[in-house]
Amino acid sequence: MNLNNFLIPALILIPLLSGVAALLMRSDVPRRILLVTAATIHSLLTFLAEGAPPLFNNWLALDALGRLFLCITSFLFLIVSIYSIGYLARERKAEKDVRFDFESSSILSNGPESLLTACLLFFLTAMTLVCVSNHLGLLWVAIEATTLASAPMIYFHRRRQSLEAAWKYLLICSIGIALALFGNFLLAVSTATLSGGETELLLDDLLLLAPQFQPLWLKAAFIFLLVGYGTKMGLAPLHTWLPDAHSESPSLVSALLSGALLNCAFLGILRSQQILIAAGFASFGQELLIIFGLVSMGLAATFILHQTNFKRMLAYSSVEHMGILALGVGLGGAGVFGSLFHAINHSLTKAMLFLTAGNIIMKLHTKSTLEVRGLSHSLPVSGALWMAGFLAITGSPPFGTFLSEFTILKAAIEQGHYAIAIGYALILAVIFIVMASIVLRMVQGKPLDGQEAPYESEPWLSVAPPIALFGLVLMLGLYIPPFLQRLLVEATRQLGGAL
């Protein structure tokens, strides 16, 4: 009996059972400990999961691509769970103090913490399932499950805006996912021309038999899958739920949404693209991905410009980066490597930014960029992190994002897509500039009246997680660990790219 056989089930069951337990637990502290413990074990298992054998007729398997996204998800969840200890404690305290909630002009009220914790864990379960499922139907189920697990978290702060955001999130994503279901079935139909007549939607089989698929059905299926998962991933103009959900949910949830959830949807698209590549229609998908990529980046620039809500700014930046991911895969070659690498960098950086945003909101009780000034005085650590995060997210050297964006640009130029390269670089520059004007205004200058009061030093539980993330992004810009390099190269190869 090989213990490895239990790895994948453990990865799924541990958060699932912990989630159920969390739902039943009454007191806060053990529940928080449970959360961190589950996250830690999950991360450890993820780390060990290399070479885990496939299970259930290959339904669950961990290839390089899945492992890459699982690593991101699991690690991010660990960091966020640590952050959540301090965050939840402060939320609870604010609730007890009967603090006035400035955004909803009413007394602050939150959803039950047990529900949030449980949803976090279910969310992790679903995302793990996304990463390990080797069956497109299962993948679909898992992705829809992520939506369902995360929707209640968006409505953690009991405000009208959160409610609105949760509703939009749920409805739009569900519609998207329903389209993806269409896609899955169309894909299944496209296999009907095979002599055998019977194919399950197992990825391995699909990849093997793809060249014999009925091309038109396959293309139609891809369009549905792309639009469906693209909605969830936040590709413009399907991204509309994204800024609302990110800005209204608690910051730690936003961090997970942006850092982990979007990647999961991206994985769905990558799986579809894998099949297209195997079928010999790689360029069909690439063309669409490039268009979606550029449109997402451009539209994100539009909304980052003069953005007055800094969490929305981060959300639009996620749209931008999803565009970059799509573009990278669309370009193929080294672009795939850049794109996958960028997925890591973006997750770490964006999570760091959202956690920092959480610190800022916690202290200053506002999400408005106009009401935040002089962070470097009022919140020195978070202010510095905010600035550093801005530089990282815009792809400045020496951060990891620079390397990945650079790689994608290189791919574009190498393949002679000069117009795309110029458009890409131009949009990146515009976003850098418009984002700079927002971020600099927040960090620099003198704090506004009422904000300059000397705050107690920032609790380490709320600054250590973003600092850790920042350290990693910085490290990835200067050094890529060998195991990660191997993983990336392997995953890139799966998607038909090469460095």
């Binding site: 329903a178 079935f185 021309t193 019977e198």
Partner: protein, 211 residues
């Protein structure tokens, strides 16, 4: 014979488009669910009858009974019985439905014929449901109606699934149903919260998050 169910499905689709009373719309939906549950039985699945039967039963139960029941409860809780002022009127909606139908048949005709389908119009009907679902979500104000629209959309996909059930294994089928169920459940909860904190469930007024 096979085509008959699909024709019935199309007709229920139109009925759904034209119904302003939510209770009626929910019942139409329940009818659709039952029709969908019948589709797997049409196929010629030698030796797979056990599987096919169980799928048919489960979808009959969930789509035909559980979901309608649940939706009716949500309707009573949110005290909204009627879709008052849709963006597109009910008569006009049915006209749009005709356009949708045309588009669906066009789309289906673009795709090569699949021999193993129980009916040749299955593809078109499923696209029709897709468009109708999307259209209802876009043209109705009440959150509950939008959920109904979502379910129609889902049914569209499901037609593919059951018409081609052998491709989608049992577990997946189950997962899909479970997901839909939970989705509707969560949506119901949110609708409840919306009606509580806004005193209405008009989604066009849920537009404070701009820019």
């Amino acid at each position: 014979m096979n085509d008959l169910i699909f024709v019935l499905l199309i007709l229920t689709g139109f009925v759904f488009l034209g119904s302003g009373r939510l209770q009626f719309a929910i019942r139409t939906l329940a009818l659709q669910g039952i029709l969908l549950g019948l589709i797997p039985l049409l196929g010629n699945w030698q030796g797979l009858w056990g599987r096919v039967l169980s799928i048919a039963t489960i979808s009959l139960v969930i789509k035909g009974l559980v979901l309608p029941y649940f939706l009716t409860r949500a309707m009573h809780k949110s005290k909204v019985m009627h879709e008052d002022h849709p963006f597109v009127g009910f008569t006009a909606s049915m006209l749009v439905g005709i356009i949708c139908l045309g588009a669906s048949f066009w789309l289906a005709s673009r795709l090569p014929v699949i021999a193993s389908m129980p009916s040749q119009i299955a593809v078109a009907v499923s696209f029709f449901y897709l468009f109708v679902g999307l259209f209802v979500i876009m043209s109705r104000r009440k959150a509950l109606t939008q959920v109904l629209g979502y379910l129609v959309l889902e049914n569209g996909a499901y037609i593919f699934g059951v018409a081609y059930a052998i491709e989608a294994p049992f577990l997946v089928e189950l997962g899909v149903l479970l997901d839909v169920f939970v989705a509707v459940f969560v949506m119901g909860i949110i609708i409840f919260h919306i009606s509580k904190s806004f005193d209405h469930i008009d989604t066009d007024q849920l537009s404070t998050l701009v820019g």
